[in-house]
Amino acid sequence: MNEKNINLSIDIQGLKLKNPVIAASGTYGFGREYAEYVDLNDWGGISVKGLTLEERIGNPPPRTVETPSGMLNAIGLQNPGVHAFIQNELPFLRRFDTAVIANVAGNTAEEYATMARILDKADIDAIELNLSCPNVKKGCMAFGSTPEGIFQVVKDVRRETRKPLIVKLTPNVTDITEPAIAAQEAGADILSLINTLLGMVIDIHTRKPVLANNTGGLSGPAVRPVAVRMVYQVAQAVSIPVIGMGGITSGKDAIEFILAGASAVMVGTWNFADPACVKKITEEIKAYMIRYDISDLKELVGKVEIY
C-alpha cells in the first residue's frame, strides 16, 4: 500500500467528492475569505454559509462566545440571499476543484421549496437543508425538531430538485433516529449531522447572557462525543448515507466518524483555530489507511465493532 493506490474519493448518491472532507456551513463563508490562507482545492467540498430566500442582516452582536473546548454562535443566518449567492459568490467558488453545497434555511416549507427550485438550476453539486439552526426565531429548528415537520419540508423540496438532497439534523432531540427516518422517508438522499447544541452563557458581571440572542449553538470539540454517538445511531437506523460532523480537528477524529457510519465528514469550528486543517486531516486519513493497508476509504464506513 502506498499513497498512490489510495482512494479517498466517494460518490454519495450522486454527490461526487474527491476526498471526504467538507467545510461545514457557516464556518467557511463562501470560501473567498479563506482563499488567501488555504488552497481551496484541498477540500472535498464546501458547504456555503446558510442561504435564505431574501437577504438577512443577522442577529445583533455579540454573536459568539468561547466555551470550554467549544463556542456558541448566534449569527442568525446573515447572508446576501440565494440569488446574490448564485450571482456573486458561486462563480468564484467554481474556479476550484471542489464540490459546492448550497446550505439553505427557510421560514416556511414553501420558502424551502422555492429555494430548491432556484438552486436546482444553479451550478451546484448538492443542496443541504438546514432544518436545525437554533438561532433564528421562525422556521428552521422549529421544523427540524419534529419528524412531521421534517417530513413535510423534505417532501416539498424533493419535488423541486433532482440534485443530491442533504438534510441536516439538529441534535436537540430525544431520539435522533426519528427525524432521520422521517427525512429518509420523505426522499432525502443524504443526512448530515450534527448541527449545534443549544446553549447559553451568562456574564456574571453584567448579569446578562453574553449573546444578544440570549442562546446560541454549541459547536467544536466539546460536542464530539455526542456527535459520534448520534452519527452511529442514525447510520444504524437508515439506509441512506450520512455525513458526520461535530468537533472534528484531525484525521483521527474524522476516522472516528467514518467508523461510526459517516461516508464523509464536515469540519466547522476547527477552521477558526487552524485554517490549514483540511490538508492535515486528509494527510492523516491517508497515513491511517497506509498503516492499516486500506486502499479504499469506503471499506471503513460504519466499521466500528460494537461490544
Binding site: Y37, P61, E66, G220, F272
Partner: protein, 262 residues
C-alpha cells in the same frame, strides 16, 4: 509574499511589575507587510482550550527583518498562555488582518486618543507618522505604573497628554475630559481613537460636532478573524440610513465614526 502563519518568539518580557507584556516575533517565509491599525490572530493553546485565537494589535512591523511586535495585557487563559512563551518557541499567528488607519496625504494636524489596551494600535500609527504631520496624543492609563514609557513615542512632532484614573500621574480623571479641555480651540484634520467604547463614543461625538473626521478602532469577540464566520458584527449605518452589520475583523477594526453605531 504571503499572509503570516508562523513565527518564532525572539523576546517576550513583562513590563516592570504590570500584567502587560511585550513580545517580539520573527515571521517565517516571505511575508506581506503590515500597516498601522492591523492586527494578528494568535493561537493560544496546544490543545482545544482555549479553542479560539486571540486578536492582538500589531505594535510595530519591521519589513526588513520580518519582525513584528505586540503588547498585551494578561486577562484570561489566552493571554496567560502567551505570557508563558519563551524565546525560541513557535508562534502560530495569522496576519496581517483587518484594514488600516486612513491617513491622508494632505493631513497636517491630527489628534490621537487612546485608553488602556487601546493605545497599542495607535502607537503603530504614531511611529509611522510623516514628520510634517503634527499630533496631539491623549493617552489614559489606570495608574502611573501602567504608563508604558517604554513604548511611548518621543518625537518632535508629537505632543503627549497623559491622564491616570487614580490621579497618580498627569491629569487625574477621564482622558476624554483632558482631550476636550485641550482641543476646544483646535481644528484637526482627523482624530484617531481606540479604547473603551464609552471613551470612543465621547471622542467621536465631540469630533462630529465640529465636523472633524474621526476614526475609531473597534473590538469585538472574534472566532475566525478573517471575515468568514460573521461573528464579530458591529452596527453600521447603511446607505439608506438603515442599520446593518459590518465586521470588525474584515471591514474594520478601523471605522469612520460617522459610519458606525457606537
Amino acid at each position: 509574499m504571503t499572509k503570516w502563519n508562523s513565527g518564532i518568539v525572539l523576546e517576550n518580557k513583562r513590563i516592570r511589575s504590570t500584567d502587560i507584556y511585550i513580545m517580539k516575533v520573527r515571521l517565517k517565509g516571505d511575508v506581506d507587510p503590515s500597516y498601522p491599525g492591523q492586527f494578528v490572530n494568535i493561537r493560544c493553546s496546544k490543545g482545544t482550550d482555549p479553542l479560539l485565537r486571540r486578536p492582538i494589535s500589531i505594535l510595530r512591523f519591521d519589513p526588513a527583518e520580518n519582525i513584528f511586535e505586540i503588547v498585551y495585557e494578561v486577562r484570561g487563559k489566552g493571554t496567560q498562555y502567551l505570557s508563558l512563551l519563551k524565546q525560541g518557541e513557535d508562534l502560530d499567528v495569522l496576519g496581517p488582518l483587518g484594514n488600516r488607519f486612513c491617513l491622508k496625504e494632505e493631513y497636517e494636524r491630527i489628534a490621537v486618543v487612546g485608553g488602556g489596551i487601546g493605545i497599542f494600535p495607535l502607537i503603530h500609527l504614531l511611529e509611522s507618522l510623516p514628520e510634517k504631520v503634527f499630533a496631539d496624543v491623549f493617552f489614559g492609563f489606570r495608574d502611573s505604573d501602567r504608563i508604558l514609557w517604554e513604548i511611548l513615542p518621543k518625537k518632535d512632532n508629537i505632543k503627549l497628554y497623559i491622564s491616570t484614573d487614580d490621579k497618580s500621574f498627569g491629569y487625574g480623571g477621564f482622558i476624554t475630559d483632558l482631550f476636550k479641555e485641550n482641543t476646544s480651540d483646535k481644528k484637526y484634520d482627523a482624530v484617531y481613537t481606540c479604547g473603551p467604547k464609552p471613551m470612543m463614543k465621547i471622542v467621536a461625538e465631540a469630533c462630529m460636532a465640529k465636523d472633524i473626521e474621526c476614526f475609531v478602532s473597534l473590538e469585538e469577540r472574534m472566532a475566525c478573524g478573517i471575515g468568514a464566520c460573521l461573528g464579530c458584527a458591529c452596527r453600521v449605518q447603511t446607505e439608506n440610513d438603515k442599520i446593518g452589520y459590518g465586521h470588525v475583523c474584515k471591514d474594520g477594526p478601523v471605522f469612520n465614526a460617522r459610519k458606525v453605531v457606537l
